[in-house]
């Protein structure tokens, strides 16, 4: 009896130790490339005759440590998390939806066109709900043509979603300039949603509750894809479409559903950006979040929790760099270089960890 518990204890401690070691490994594997990326971009800063320490001091001082900066970072995370959720659904189902930017914009434009008109006549919560629904519906609709072409014609969705991306970005700017124009200003933009009609902020800060929507969405997507029968079906379709047909799954229908959910989430992301943050869409506004989130979602291996971490890091960098750029005179373009290097470093670290695992096994 006594020996039994003792062995149990030792088993537990070795397990604990292994777990700790694997956690340390994960930390090293995720922080190492971030550090490497900062060192490499620091070298570029030195070449530009800027002190890298003061530059990164400003980046993290603003993006992570100052109260207003953190609030801006967390607010930006909301729409980005929704985009990550949209991509995870599609990528796990083997569908390369690269049209997220247009789905985001189309959702945002229709939301920004409709909500300010409804807002004075309905309670705030109803207006917000309707606005969010409109953005999700139009985002989803924008994904439907590639969906049908893929599901029933077998047409490669990388082509069609990229095409719909170009179309949607132009369409959004046509709609803003010609159709949904705010008649009361000369600036080409939609009507502006009054601040009191926007998404509430959290706990007396300026953080938009869009963050909560984003977190709920990405956790829900993660749960559905990994823990439910529906998610399993989608992953089977993604893993091997012909096997899915033989297993009796309605592959075309599932494909259309994936596109609709993915487009809907991307559209909702646009809606949340409008309802929580911007209040209107200006002509030629295109933050192009989707393209930057695609590689992050890959590196997170379509895992919702990992994606939250990557999106957080991305938000800190993009918010912090805007202020660091102003203060040190480094153009904002530098952020793109940092993010490019960071992505490469993350991919390289994954390569080495996979290699090490293989060597261990």
């Amino acid at each position: 009896m006594n020996t039994q518990t003792m062995t149990d204890d030792t088993v537990q401690t070795t397990e604990m130790r292994q777990k700790l070691r694997s956690i340390a490994g994960v930390l090293l594997m995720s922080l190492g490339p971030v550090l490497m990326a900062f060192i490499l971009s620091g070298v570029i800063l030195l070449i530009l005759k800027v002190n890298p320490f003061s530059y990164y001091g400003y980046v993290f001082g603003r993006g992570l440590l100052s109260p207003t900066g953190v609030q801006a970072t967390l607010t930006r995370m909301g729409p980005l998390l929704l985009i990550a959720a949209s991509l995870i659904v599609a990528f796990r189902a083997g569908i390369w939806n690269l049209g997220g930017d247009a789905q985001f914009l189309v959702g945002a434009v229709f939301c920004a066109a409709a909500t300010p008109l409804m807002a004075p006549h309905v309670p705030v919560w109803l207006g917000l709900l309707a606005g969010a629904a409109i953005s999700a519906i139009f985002g989803g609709l924008w994904a439907l043509l590639p969906a049908f072409l893929r599901a029933y014609q077998g047409l490669n969705e990388i082509i069609t979603t990229l095409m719909m991306n170009f179309l949607g970005i132009s369409l959004a700017s046509v709609l803003v300039k010609l159709v949904f124009l705010d008649p009361s200003t000369t600036v080409p933009q939609t009507r502006t949603l009054a601040v009191e009609d926007r998404l509430p902020t959290l706990f007396g800060t300026t953080i938009s509750s869009g963050l909560i929507i984003g977190l709920v969405a990405i956790l829900a997507v993660h749960f559905v894809m990994t823990r439910t029968a529906f998610g399993l079906r989608l992953r089977v379709v993604g893993g091997n479409a012909s096997a899915a047909v033989h297993a009796g799954l309605a592959v075309p229908l599932l494909t259309v559903m994936v596109f609709a959910i993915s487009g809907g989430l991307a559209g909702l992301s646009g809606g949340v950006a409008i309802l929580g943050q911007y209040g209107n869409v200006r002509a030629d506004w295109n933050p192009a979040y989707s393209l930057s989130i695609v590689p992050l979602v890959f590196l997170a291996r379509f895992n919702g929790f990992a994606a939250i971490g990557f999106v957080g890091l991305f938000s800190i960098l993009s918010i912090g760099a805007e202020s660091a750029a102003r203060r040190t005179g480094v153009p904002n373009y530098f952020t793109l270089v940092t993010i490019g290097i960071l992505l490469v470093m993350l991919a390289v670290s994954e390569y080495y960890s996979a290699k090490r695992q293989k060597a261990g096994a």
Partner: protein
């Protein structure tokens, strides 16, 4: 109908060539890379690399010929990173492709900022090669046969590539590298070398296309000037299903729509540019709706080749 004057038509057709050449080079390059099994999402970055370096060298040396060589070099530089990370190390091609595009966007804009601050120096006009006889045809002659040498080179690449793919050992090896790399390996060929060659050749072509945009098309370098042309190149390559001639048709179609926008505005017809910019994409979506069937892509596209792995 005063719209279709000779000057308008010449401007329209010349515009098709100007807008179509970068697309043609990007599409042909991407096609070569995809045939060898590398989905090259980084060509937007390669194009910008070529546009910047091409412009810079043309500006510094005052020689457009050296400028075009610089464009090829710029594309090669970016694509050598793609070779290192995606072919040699076998990292995810979409992640690295997007990383290279973002990085090149930032790097070229940064370099331009460091070198020129807020100035945008303009290059002088590029010398053209007049093809005797053909250049005397009314309208088409001045628009198509009195052009920069790169235009002829880009069009000449189409039959050259057709010949390479159909008749040469190299073309066969490239296509095997994309369809069944293991078989190519068994036959004693080096898969990674052939893929590296394809990606580098793609980078060179795309870089030349970028240099054409900055040196001939615009005469200046503006940050982010390639404006999605690389992505259109990816679309062209996928639509063309492995046929270089179809890339040419696609480039002409897109070039026509892009140049119609400018030509109509020159002719004083007020159509919002955004609407005209949608035309090529609407056209292609319609084509796909009517004629779209299973696009055939190389079997091993996007998959890294690791020897001995199943």
């Amino acid at each position: 109908m005063t719209l279709f004057t000779d000057t308008f038509l010449i401007a329209l057709i010349a515009g098709i060539a100007a807008a179509g050449v970068p697309l043609l080079l990007a599409g042909l390059g991407e096609q070569l890379s995809e045939k060898a099994g590398v989905l090259n999402v980084g060509i937007e970055g390669m194009m910008l690399g070529g546009a910047y370096l091409g412009f810079y060298i043309a500006w510094a040396t005052e020689s457009t010929g050296l400028g075009f060589l610089g464009g090829i070099l710029g594309g090669l530089l970016v694509s050598s990173l793609m070779v290192l990370f995606c072919v040699r190390m076998g990292l995810n091609q979409i992640v690295i492709g997007i990383a290279l595009t973002l990085g090149a966007e930032g790097a070229t804009a940064l370099l331009h900022h460091v070198q020129f601050s807020r100035l945008y120096p303009r290059l002088s006009d590029v010398a053209t090669w007049r093809i005797p006889g053909l250049a005397d045809i009314p309208i088409i002659g001045p628009a198509l046969f009195d052009r920069e040498p790169v235009v002829y080179l880009a069009v000449a690449l189409v039959p050259i590539l057709v010949y390479v793919y159909r008749r040469t050992h190299l073309g066969l090896a490239v296509q095997a590298a994309g369809d069944k790399p293991a078989a190519l390996d068994s036959a004693g060929q080096n898969v990674l070398a052939i893929r590296s060659f394809a990606v580098l050749a793609c980078g060179g072509m795309v870089g030349l296309g970028g240099a054409f945009m900055s040196i001939v098309g615009a005469g200046v370098f503006v940050p982010f000037m390639t404006h999605g042309n690389g992505f259109i190149g990816i679309v062209l390559a996928m639509l063309a299903r492995g046929r270089p001639l179809w890339v040419l048709f696609g480039a002409v179609l897109f070039g026509a729509c892009l140049s119609a926008a400018t030509a109509l505005q020159v002719a004083g017809v007020a159509i919002p540019t955004d609407v005209v910019q949608m035309l090529p994409f609407v056209a292609v979506m319609l084509v796909l709706l009517i004629a779209g069937r299973n696009a055939k892509l190389p079997a091993a596209l996007g998959a890294a080749y690791v020897r001995g792995e199943r």
